[in-house]
């Protein structure tokens, strides 16, 4: 006797515990196996690009905070670099070092979130998540010292940062940097050798490098597939050419590789921050208001600047018509573009792998929908 089966279509989301925001999958299951999947999003669309067209260049910084709200420093950085390129502003060295420190701290925080929620999707009842959040908390506290806010920082300004770090910042940073490797070791001894995690993530949702690069994936996604492409190394912006760091690579291209790459990248962030602190010298953190006024009027033209965000290549494309606000502000959002291959990654896997693979992409709905 053969049993007659038929595929079932289920909407997972928008209200689902592990959709990392407001996201909807329309999945067709054949038993437990995924036969077809269609991502549906836009629930968080706020029209940031349109809003940017009606704000001055200084005010748009606050919008970039809210695009990728777990790595807002990096969004700020990408936007500020685009404005600097558009206006031809020469940034102050101390400001650049400070924003590199802030960006790397933010990268640690963002990767912590990614790892924590990936493990949460694996069903650990929040234990790695709380450990990861605990480390992120230290970063956020430092952000509060730097700029008075924890998530929506708005710390960076064209030409540097808005204000020098307070005197008590560097000691706190130093103690954090010396404590963090032990915490990462602890997390790694907890997670990386864990047989269940290995069984759950290995060989699932494998991305071949050729396919990944053709689909414009960037960041940890392709470094996990064995492509040594890190914009900090290949196209150094700010002063990344003055620091040395390793680029962790994994060749498997599966969920475990993506987890592993993020884990190792956090260690590299520590070395980068240490080098920044060493090379930082006293001085102004932003050019004077005569050089960079509040109300910027860039010359007519356009500029595209991409940085290595925590999730991939984060680019801002600004078009100026000579006015006080951008004529067009386009964001090349890595979370959004990393979703391209979701269907290919997931078809044929089981239901349990769905959210794990989704979590390993590490996306942020604020950035996907913008």
């Amino acid at each position: 006797m053969t049993l007659k089966t038929e595929p079932v279509t289920i909407n997972l989301g928008p209200q689902h515990p592990s959709t990392h925001g407001v996201f909807r999958f329309r999945v067709t299951f054949d038993g437990e196996q995924i036969a077809d999947i269609e991502p549906i999003f836009g629930y968080l669309h706020r029209g940031s690009e349109k809003l940017a067209e009606e704000r001055t260049y200084a005010q748009v910084v606050t919008l970039t905070d809210r695009m990728d709200y777990v790595s807002s420093m990096l969004s700020n950085q990408a936007y500020i670099l685009a404005v600097e390129k558009l206006c031809g502003i020469e940034p102050s060295p101390r400001g650049v070092w400070l924003r590199m420190i802030a960006a790397e701290l933010q990268r640690i925080a963002s990767h912590m979130v990614a790892i924590g929620f990936l493990l949460q999707d694996l069903g650990t009842w929040g234990t790695p998540l709380t450990y990861a959040m605990r480390e992120r908390e230290s970063v956020l506290e430092m952000f509060e010292m730097l700029c008075g806010a924890r998530i929506t920082n708005s710390y960076l300004r064209p030409g540097g940062v808005f204000m020098d770090a307070p005197v008590e910042f560097l000691p706190v940073l130093d103690s954090f940097l010396s404590a963090l490797p032990h915490r990462i070791d602890e997390l790694e001894s907890y997670l990386t050798g864990n047989e269940i995690i290995f069984a759950r993530t290995k060989g699932v949702a494998v991305l071949k490098p050729e396919i990944a690069i053709n689909a414009s994936l960037t960041g940890p996604m392709i470094r996990a597939s064995g492509i040594d492409w890190d914009l900090r190394h290949r196209d150094p912006y700010d002063y990344y050419d003055r620091v040395s760091f390793k680029r962790p690579l994994h060749r498997a291209g599966d969920n475990f590789a993506r987890y592993w790459v993020r884990m190792q990248e956090m260690r590299e962030c520590i070395t980068i921050i240490r080098q920044c602190v060493e090379q930082m010298e006293p001085g102004p953190v932003r050019p004077s208001h005569d050089d960079v006024p509040y109300l910027l009027r860039p010359p007519v033209g356009d500029a595209y600047v991409a940085i290595e965000g925590s999730k991939g290549e984060l680019g801002f494309y600004l078009v100026s018509d000579g006015g006080i606000s951008p004529y067009r502000c386009h964001v090349r959002a890595p979370s959004f573009i990393n979703l391209t291959l979701l269907r290919e990654m997931l078809i044929g896997t089981l239901m349990g792998d769905l959210f794990v693979s989704f979590g390993s992409v590490d996306l942020n709905m604020g950035e996907v929908d913008r």
Binding site: Q59, T62, Y131, M145, S189, G193, N194, E195
Partner: protein, 223 residues
Amino acid sequence: MQGQGLLKGLGVTMKNFVRPVHTVQYPDRKVGLLGAAKRAGVSPFRFFADNPREGLKALLFIATVPERVQQAPRFRGNEFTWYEDRCTGCASCAKYCPLGIIKIVTHPGGIDVQEGESYAIDVFDIDIGRCMFCGLCVEACPYDALHMGSQFERGNYVRNDLVIDIEQLRSNLKRPSSWFRPQFEERKFDPFKGETVDDHYKAGRHEQPSPDELKERWVDGRK
């Protein structure tokens, strides 16, 4: 050996089990007799004798002591600190607000202590309900008249109550945040120590114009 990673994981969680708690209970924390007495600064017996009711609660571990997190002095908070004497009504803050939630109505004829004549302010509304505390208004203020506040507890039942009007701005406790105010940082001013800065002279200026500059700006520039 298989299973080693699993056992290691158990070890890590057990290590965290005996670690001190990382979270902070806000706004208060449940304590026992020892904790309550320590907070009150007396011996447990004294505490019990002084206040048997609280002491009984403390014995059951249901006495509460207030608790809050250490905040940074730069914390961009609620209840803007505004020095009316210093405000010239230029409305820079309103212009720089990305959301346009600051409303200023002025009429000519006010007197500014620092720079001579200015506008008198009739209306100064800040819609805190829509404010995102980016601090650009503070950054834009040329006379250091507006400062970010340091509080965050402003729950309300009615949305309209979230609009801070000029009366509230005058009467608010003046505990300015040191966001974009380097003069506070140099003085190591911490708004969370309970200290207030009521006088605008004490608040200082972060870019104090020299008398020559003032003369040039206000006398020579107007000829």
